[in-house]
Symmetry: D2
Subunit: 299 residues, 4 copies
């Protein structure tokens, strides 16, 4: 049985160099910075990692580099977000080959998918490797909305689908997953702006790019709620909330890359059509980080 990850699942951005390709050195620095944030796991090539904007070869390179850099210090999760089942299966196999520990799989739609279509998409990926899978729901970015009932069914009917990540931002979904599985299926919060409440509601973890900028504050928030210190948890949550909201509203690659540069850890620009953060927003982010006494990232 897979060990359940409890705590923070940290998401790196994918740094690009001036010529537009992946910057391996910066990639390693960004990863080391995250490893200092007390994560329970690191997830490469998720939304924050601009996975959707990479070529297939870049994706493979990033996955391999991630596994090598982490080198077993924490479990490595690899994100798979593909329109076609064939491409998703190929990536799953590759992730297995290079030694990833888990897959996080989100269906992506151009044409709306039926539940039968989504189910078979997951089934094909699950059949391709023995890696445990986190089913990931994020209708806002993927265009696919999976109900709690369907997500629980995926876990029940597909052996290696064992975890759920919910990023719809709807507490009712988490409540429903908990009730439908009598608390037995670990679910993870992917909505930064309600991290305090999701942990209170029983989330096993919090999937977030925030540690890139906030170091171990997310991990401390998780621990405070677990310890029942609701007063200090609440105070910490409200302190970091402006940053949590800012990075989501402005788009994770854009804002996190700007914040990393402010911390002395340049990760390049996001890939066009995405643009670097505009100056007024960069100032605002700098003020948020200063108010929290966020320090430069170690080299």
């Amino acid at each position: 049985m897979t060990k359940v990850i409890r705590g923070i699942v940290a998401y790196p951005v994918t740094p690009f160099s001036a010529d537009g390709g992946i910057d391996d050195g910066a990639f390693r620095c960004v990863t080391e910075n995250l490893l200092r944030s007390q994560p329970a796991a690191i997830a490469f090539l998720g939304s924050a990692g601009e996975s959707a904007y990479l070529t297939e070869e870049e994706w493979r390179h990033g996955a391999r580099l991630g596994v090598e850099t982490v080198a077993g210090r924490v479990p490595v999760i690899v994100g798979i977000a593909e329109l076609t089942t064939a491409a998703a299966v190929a990536k799953a196999r590759y992730a297995r080959e290079i030694g990833a520990d888990m897959l996080m799989v989100i269906p992506v739609s151009y044409w709306k998918l039926t539940e039968a279509e989504i189910f078979d998409h997951y089934a094909a990926i699950a059949a391709a490797t023995d890696l445990p899978i986190m089913a990931y729901n994020n209708p806002g970015t993927s265009g696919v909305d999976m109900s709690p009932e369907f997500l629980v069914r995926l876990v029940r009917e597909l052996d290696t689908v064992r975890f759920i990540k919910e990023s719809s931002g709807d507490l009712n979904r988490m409540h429903a997953i908990h009730k439908l599985s009598d608390g037995a299926i670990p679910f993870y919060n992917g909505a930064n702006h309600m991290a305090l409440e999701a942990i209170a509601a029983g989330a096993s973890g919090w999937c977030t790019a925030a540690p890139n900028l906030l170091d171990d504050r997310p991990a401390r928030l998780f621990d405070l709620v677990q310890a029942g210190d609701i007063v200090r948890a609440r105070a910490l949550f409200y302190d970091i909330l402006p940053v949590l909201r800012f990075i989501v509203v402005g788009g994770l690659p854009t804002t996190v890359k700007a914040g990393l540069a402010l911390r002395g850890l340049p990760a390049g620009a996001p890939r066009p059509p995405l643009k670097p953060l505009v100056e007024a927003d960069r100032q605002k982010l700098a003020e948020f980080l200063a108010a929290l006494r966020v320090e430069p990232a170690a080299a």
Copy 2:
């Protein structure tokens, strides 16, 4: 300075007799039942009290009967939900005359209101009495949606507007009220389905009709979160969640009256076009209450 209410604000239904008028005896029984649920306050003539369906004379009768029955045991809040400012002012004055302790005011729209129109509506009501006012936002039933910024402005600019009740079900609103006022403005949760999380987020209280059916369980939930016993709080919350959701989804007057009848405390039917709960749903509610070992209400 008004004492801040902390804990449960309990909402009675308004019982009708077979001829359609207010049933005074049942009204008193419903109120006594609520008083046994450890409420911090009781709020008459809110949404659950079918306020919108009463004639003006009935409304006055209900308000008076409420104040008399509670007889100072806990603070009494009276709900005001009027389309015209003139009618709202008249009700505010009446509530003051009969000895109510606080007003809960929600603007109601047929035609969409501008913020200037809503502000002056509150200002006129505030000017009519010296009673403290809870500004109440519930876009789903009232058709008016007041932003956190506007609600905080109401509290800052109108002396007697001191509290905010948020029923939009959006955690972001509570976070915003907390941040905008540095935690200084007490806010109350009006969304049953997220009570656990709203209390975790710092709500001063929970406005709910649930104690009609769940006795002191809501009060215990509130206390458990305050005490940092997040594990038992979560367990209690998930236990009562089916009832919390059921009474909201089915409409409070309809479902709570059905539940009270199941508990041996008949409160009549809701007023047409509202109908009594259909039999299949009544069975489901009975099962929910049985699973929680809810006992008959004391006579």
Copy 3:
């Protein structure tokens, strides 16, 4: 069989005098102005008539005054928008007594209504008089959304419910009503901003307050589409569209009263909390009317 109304159903505002009551003289002037706009019928006490903001006595006065003023020159429709079935039935009976020709009935919700509840609401009103009824769907103002299937069922199962007014602004609804009834149930468009298209789609008429400000332009638009002169219909529609949109976005009572004052036909202010149109918007409306060469209303 009721004669089918074809063309414009014109909606007057309800003028108030300085002391806040209904201004009978202005009421008659507003009505006469509408009668000059080539309407197929006039509908009193609809949304534009601030019906929801009137006391019961004022409503009766307005209905009676409307019937008397029109004096049979065109059919008179009276609007009924009540939360309780009892109040709606009482108004239906009164409308019959004073000689109205048709009822336009919209259910209003505070608590969400089931279809069974809405159906019985209509059935009770239909049973109260022999007047033909137009079932009116306007979820935006009433909080009740009736599907095309349900509306067609109302017409099929209740003898005197014979017409449908659709104000949801969704063309699919009109298409569905047409298909479900093989074109046999007359439906009316209540969404000003898509009048051209609704008439093209087969609406029997257009329910609108626009003739208060635009005289017979709406009637001409209706006739041009019927005559197949799509080029001139389109040109006229785009000409008047800024006014059509303006009066809806700003709220009919507020904007139409401002526009009538600009035309030399003062109808007082809307009832608080509604406020008179702000000056900047009044200027904009004046420009729109000037661009269309709208003339002062005849005395």
Copy 4:
């Protein structure tokens, strides 16, 4: 100056053979079938063409095959829907090389794009070739919603962006484009379910996959409205509406391929995770086509 296309812009599906690749023979048959439907232009590799599911090489093959098959009989438009600007520019250049007449460009988002980001995306594509461009708005499939103001700005500021395709299904958008440009910018309707009304509102054309199944009926509808024969136009529209709605609700590749098979022109299955139409829906589509007396497609 580019000649304005008036009438039907027809969209083929992309047929796959049993091994999953593009089926050249079927591709040519599908194209010839469309050429018999009186189209004003043919648009390859749009939404209906499963463009998003093709590899880059397949996309190039499809574009080339399309241009070759049409062989100048009508203008050929090629669809470009890419997440990265670099990929979009490369496709634009390729389309120019192979002799396409126009580009239809829709931005696609994973991360929400600012208007500055969308503008530069279009600017880069426009700078890459001299082909005229149709800016295409379809928030439902692409995740990007461009306002009428922004679309008009694109046309004004970028020389080769000359046309707008609106598929949001919101009549207000078409009205706004017409008003903002005084009728000077040709706009095209991409929402099948409101084709009658969009043409009445002044659309220069209708972009649709419907001719695959309905032959010249869409072209006749367009002509009837232009001719002012609103009665026959309406009758034809209501006749074909069930098919228009069916193919959109069920997803164009899935339903159109099923319909082509029913007509004796097999185009294979859509690409997984998309599945062939389920049997019950295939039956329903067969009935719709039979009711319209749609004949087998010519070989």
